[in-house]
Symmetry: C2
Subunit: 429 residues, 2 copies
């Protein structure tokens, strides 16, 4: 954003533009740094400078302030960076969807732009090309909270195409907010994988010294190039520090912190793999590469809802939603319970042909509707418990399963079949 | 449940009843144990015996099986146990609400009954009366998934009464499913506490050797009698083993596992206290006993809803609910985000006078709507972010705050004021 007001006038008279190195003098105090774009939340008398240490500061200007353009920014190249293919290296596809990680960093201004071309995206992490030939593509450029079923489908088709045309793995830069939903959707849609399909995000934008983007992308690349792993996964930092990365099974992973770099956690299962520098170690059993080709089952019926039960949940509200959808995943309390009023709602919904499946909002542990009378009443009402499947995974799977079959018995069978590791191997059957 | 079929006929001819010690002989194999009630999920030819080691086994009967009643069960005493008051000991109130922990165990049959009298409840843990005089009362006898706002209110009134009439603390045996909601509600309703108010549950029914009920009740009693602690808390096992218990602040605790004994976890805060045998250690700062009297702010307006955002959330469904309620807590993704369609729904709801507050479904970490454009749009639409408050706590607090004031500005101020530790002291303001 351009500067206006007093700050804007000062810059104009100094001939200074965003991206230039400027010196700002207030009395005896002088600060030098790259002039950053104006911040929405700053006043019109504030300049933002990026200091040499990488951090931004705000400097207030007044009638006495002097601004000097120390050096002009370097013109940004218009020509696309060239990425020659090295026949000695394997091909890895990078299909970008958006989010913090897929931002192009203008190192001169420090500003974060959405990735505007495939080559620029890869160019921002030149170390990738030491490990492999990168086939980069920007499929979407959206914040992940705006991901929809159709995005998942388009992404699955691209992934299958890339793997079936020789890529040894696919890396999907993705916003972290809904990355676990996307990884679950891909897990159900793709079969017979010939290589890993790794959703990668970052919790710190790349213009910060603490960014986790590069380490996560490199670790994902190593899994693609140097292992026999062939599952859909989420790969992020394993600790808050830059010590190692963890790959989590796509159906067993959830964002469990709003901002930490190790926000993603495997639930009811160990992470699948640890990548520490060049070393890959597997922590669970995993699927190995198939001979191909990769299969695609991308029909999804999005007419479903996920409802979290809580004390005071009004059964009329449940009924309102149930009348609008074909399937509901309930995240019940404890072993999967709901109140007796909501048991009634479940019974009415099932009688109307709505598919109702039960998970637990505890997230950890297994649903069991055989222990208490409430659970037995829920089963009598027609609800189907889903063991230790995450509520989010169950919701995605339900939409996918409704896309696969119209037959209620087939649907139920599909929901209870372990398609992509969504039930733990430690399942209590 | 009585036995029927072949098992029932065998028992009848042997004159054996549930609770008797019986010997069952199949060929050369003889098993002896207490005859347990018939299990719903067993076939009609299965007998269940509780062995001397405390475990139950199923024994199949056939035409050749012989059953002998070794000894008849002891008649259960009808007279209430006498609990004389010891003037040298402090008084602790036990207000039971139901759940596994409040079950009366018939040690002869091993069957679990709901607590049918205050004295029986206390009598099931005789160690309690070594530490204090127990004032026991069964207020409710319900599964906690059926707890409602009116139950919270009745409970708060009982707690205030007990503390204001000399009890040094109150222990609330409670079903674990919604115990965190109840502890949050009590945290907001009770002021100026003169002693701790401790919700206690158990994850194993008391007829199992692994029950956690007694250790949890004893640890809660120690906090009441031997500390200066005066907050609403949830106290449960700190580990899966019987090593120690943890007291969690009532507004910062969540059931994070469907079945483990250490299912309850403090979120965004350390547990407040650790109780290991007779030793109490505090892990955070905490409120000490006031001189009293305890205050009661028990008005609650239950006309609120909690909605978890997910990809594919239909804005029309959000609108349907929003038209029914006065307030909504949204559990957004990541830093608190929702899709652009739901931002629209939030704007419409706020324009209609609905109070909309934002939390994160990550559970851990803080909401921040100033980082990305989505968040800024949500603020423009009128949503109010609630920092690191748990979604469940925010939902309870919203209903409580709507009971305290009709003024939107006052309500917002109340929601953003740290009433009962619902914002961490590490809050990012």
């Amino acid at each position: 954003m351009e500067y206006s007001g007093s700050a804007g006038r000062l810059l104009e008279s100094a001939g200074a533009e965003i991206g230039d190195i400027v010196e700002v003098q207030n009395g005896d105090e002088r600060r030098s740094g790259i002039l950053m774009p104006h911040h929405d939340f700053s006043g019109p008398d504030m300049l933002t400078l990026k200091l040499a240490n990488g951090y931004n500061i705000g400097v207030r200007v007044s009638g006495e302030t002097k601004v000097r353009a120390v050096s002009k920014k370097e013109p940004r190249g218009r020509s696309k960076p060239v990425l020659p293919r090295d026949p000695a290296k394997k091909d890895v596809a990078v299909i970008s969807t958006g989010g913090t990680i897929a931002s192009y960093v203008d190192y001169r201004t420090g500003a974060v732009h959405p990735a505007i071309s495939a080559e620029e995206l890869v160019f921002s992490v030149p170390e990738l090309t030491d490990l492999c030939n990168v086939r980069a593509k920007v499929l979407y450029s959206i914040l992940s909270e705006n991901m929809k079923v159709t995005h998942w489908q388009g992404l699955a088709r691209e992934v299958a195409n890339e793997l079936n045309s020789g890529a040894v793995g696919v890396i999907i830069p993705h916003g972290t907010d809904t990355m676990g939903f996307t990884s679950a959707a891909l897990s159900f849609m793709l079969t017979n994988l010939t290589g890993p399909v790794i959703c990668v995000g970052s919790q710190r934008s790349s213009d910060r010294p603490s960014s986790d983007a590069i380490m996560n992308l490199l670790a994902a690349t190593r899994l693609c190039v140097e292992s026999d792993y062939a599952e859909v996964a989420v790969l992020m930092h394993g600790e808050s520090s830059d010590s190692y990365c963890l790959a989590h099974r796509g159906t067993k992973v959830r964002k469990m912190h709003s901002s930490r770099r190790d926000a993603f956690r495997s639930i009811n299962l160990e992470p699948v793999a640890k990548v520490e520098g060049p070393n890959i170690s597997f922590l669970t059993s995993y699927n190995r590469r198939s001979a191909g080709p990769v299969g695609l089952r991308d029909k999804i019926d999005g007419n479903a809802s996920m409802l979290h039960f809580y004390p005071g949940f009004v059964s009329e509200h449940f009924d309102l939603i149930a009348q609008k959808v074909k399937g509901i995943v309930v995240a019940g309390t404890g072993l999967g319970h709901v109140s007796e009023e909501i048991v009634g709602s479940i019974g009415r919904a099932v009688a109307d042909g709505v598919h109702v499946f039960i998970t637990t909002q505890c997230l950890h542990g297994t649903v069991n509707l055989n222990v208490y009378s409430t659970g037995r009443d829920m089963i009598s009402a027609g609800a189907v418990p889903l063991e230790d499947m995450l509520p989010e995974t169950a919701y995605v799977k339900l939409m996918w399963a409704m896309g696969q079959t119209d037959d209620p018995k087939e649907l139920r069978k599909l929901m209870l079949t372990n398609i992509a590791g969504e039930f733990s191997q430690r399942r209590a059957v």
